[in-house]
């Protein structure tokens, strides 16, 4: 049985979701993972998309966050003021599932610009969308992105969404309700914030991945947990389902 690293990342992310959770899902890999989880261990996963679809159960992978499939399979569809003000803001959501372009050691994420000059960036990214408030208000956040030195940087070019700021106490002083990122899941491994320092720490490797590989793909001097576990290999069922999902979309979704 073989698989590629994106499949492993998606499956590992799916496994982090528990049944009955209320999950606020961003488009792309997070969405694939959430839909996969719902077809596996979490059939009652309560999926909310920022487009207003409540408790939706998409059978194929949406290309956009507002695809007809999300509305057609939803219990109800509400306005965006209701989604952001009544559902997200009060801290009702258990889990926020986010992607990112850049991330730092305190799990702060950037989806706005690459380059130091906001007025004249090297690369203009899409921007904030729903992420800052998702990162702020969900009880817990999982960030999913591919591991590379360009993505895992010492200092991100723009703080679009707050992780742990510059360490313990940052979220509290910013007045955020949620506990913040509980894990960063990549195509190589799983990082978790250190309970004391909040710094992202390597705690789990995907099968066949070495600590060196992860360190090579991380621009800061990555902390490594004393005991590292290895991710269970994807099951045939997981792989079959994730491939069927990706097939169901006309084109794999970019983050």
């Amino acid at each position: 049985m073989t698989w590629n690293s994106t499949e492993m990342m998606t499956i590992a992310a799916a496994r982090s979701l528990q049944n009955e959770m209320i999950c606020f899902v961003g488009i792309g890999i997070p969405s694939t993972a959430a839909i996969l989880a719902k077809s596996m261990q979490a059939p009652n996963l309560f999926l909310i998309y920022e487009s207003g679809t409540i408790n939706t159960n998409p059978q194929k992978l949406p290309l956009s966050i507002g695809d007809g499939e999300l509305a057609n399979q939803a219990l109800t569809v509400v306005s965006m003021p209701e989604i952001f003000n009544y559902w997200l803001q009060p801290g009702r959501i258990d889990m926020g599932f986010l992607g990112a372009a850049q991330i730092d050691k305190f799990a702060n994420i950037n989806t706005t610009i690459i380059g130091s000059d906001y007025a004249n960036p090297k690369v203009r990214l899409p921007g904030a969308g729903g992420a800052p408030e998702i990162a702020g208000a969900c009880k817990e956040v999982v960030i999913i992105l591919k591991h590379s030195p360009r993505a895992f940087v010492e200092k991100i070019d723009f703080v679009t969404s707050l992780g742990f700021g510059d360490g313990p106490g940052s979220r509290e002083s910013a007045g955020l309700l949620g506990r913040g990122p509980s894990a960063v899941i990549t195509d190589l491994c799983v990082l978790k914030p250190d309970p004391k320092t909040c710094e992202l720490t390597l705690v789990q490797l995907h099968p066949g991945v070495s600590v060196e590989q992860v360190k090579e793909n991380t621009s800061w001097d990555l902390k490594v947990a004393p005991e590292i576990t290895v991710t269970a290999e994807p099951t045939e069922e997981e792989l079959a389902k994730v491939r069927a999902l990706v097939q169901s979309s006309r084109k794999t979704v970019k983050a």
Partner: protein
């Protein structure tokens, strides 16, 4: 009234406009009519500029963009937006960016006739120092600091909906995003619909917009294509993917502009 009349009568150079509809019911026909009529110096508001504003920006209609997520959903970048920002082609544009929660609440404030709305937003982000029309505000009840976002009140809001009845009331259903708020927030409202019906059928998650709120109504079948209209046609994902190629280079974009918009008759 025809869409061409509605745009020429109610959209003026320099106006602040909002073409809303979140992924669903994006008023492409109206946006392309704005391009066709060469409207200029517009301040264009949308949570997600999407292809519609990428087209208007590439065509030189837009002086300022107020938005919260500027990508090609599920595909990648908006190349015309990037080219305008990086190289000022075909003109320089100013941007003001927010979050979805912020933009939504700015419409809510505008719809409510209030100068601002409050939310728990932007906390700890660089948006606090980089963007405009936000301010921190203290609760008069207990010790809490929140974010105030300034109201949005477009000169014209343009919405595509599924149906109008014979009295010009409008019904839409499915994902409606911030459309209702954008309508109430606007000084003038233009609505395009798929068709006129004798009677609205009962539907869940539906909204009826009374004619009293509507300045001009035009029938524009498939007026949301390549986005979609629930109950009428699906999102044309191939077109969204194709746009990545069309918009990447200026010449391919200009060919598209000439063949699809300026040669095309319009609605």
């Amino acid at each position: 009234m025809s869409l061409a009349e509605a745009i020429s009568l109610h959209v003026n150079d320099g106006d602040t406009i909002a073409l809303e509809g979140f992924t669903h019911l994006i008023p492409f026909a109206a946006g392309q009519e704005i391009i066709r009529q060469k409207k200029r110096n517009l301040t264009a508001i949308r949570l997600t500029p999407d292809l519609i504003y990428d087209q208007m920006i590439g065509a030189g209609c837009v002086a300022k963009l107020i938005f919260s997520w500027g990508g090609n959903p599920g595909v990648g970048s908006l190349h015309r937006l990037r080219d305008a920002l990086a190289n000022h082609w075909p003109r320089a544009i100013e941007i003001e960016e927010h979050t979805h929660a912020g933009m939504t609440n700015r419409y809510v404030a505008g719809a409510s006739g209030l100068p601002f709305a409050i939310l728990r937003g932007y906390a700890g982000t660089d948006l606090l120092t980089k963007t405009q029309n936000i301010a921190q505000i203290d609760s008069p009840f207990g010790n809490e600091r929140l974010l105030a976002v300034a109201a949005l009140n477009p000169d014209v809001t343009i919405i595509h909906a599924q149906q109008a009845d014979r009295k010009n009331n409008v019904m839409s259903w499915g994902i409606l995003g911030s459309s209702k708020e954008a309508i109430f927030a606007a000084k003038k409202v233009i609505i395009t619909v798929e068709e006129i019906v004798d009677e609205f059928e009962p539907r869940n998650s539906s909204v009826i917009i009374p004619e009293k709120l509507i300045t001009a109504l035009a029938v524009a079948p498939r007026g949301a294509w390549p986005s979609y209209a629930s109950g009428y046609y699906e999102r044309d994902n191939d077109q969204y993917i194709a746009w990545d190629e069309i918009s990447k280079e200026r010449d391919t974009f200009e060919n598209w502009l000439n063949s699809e918009i300026f040669s095309g008759g319009g609605n």
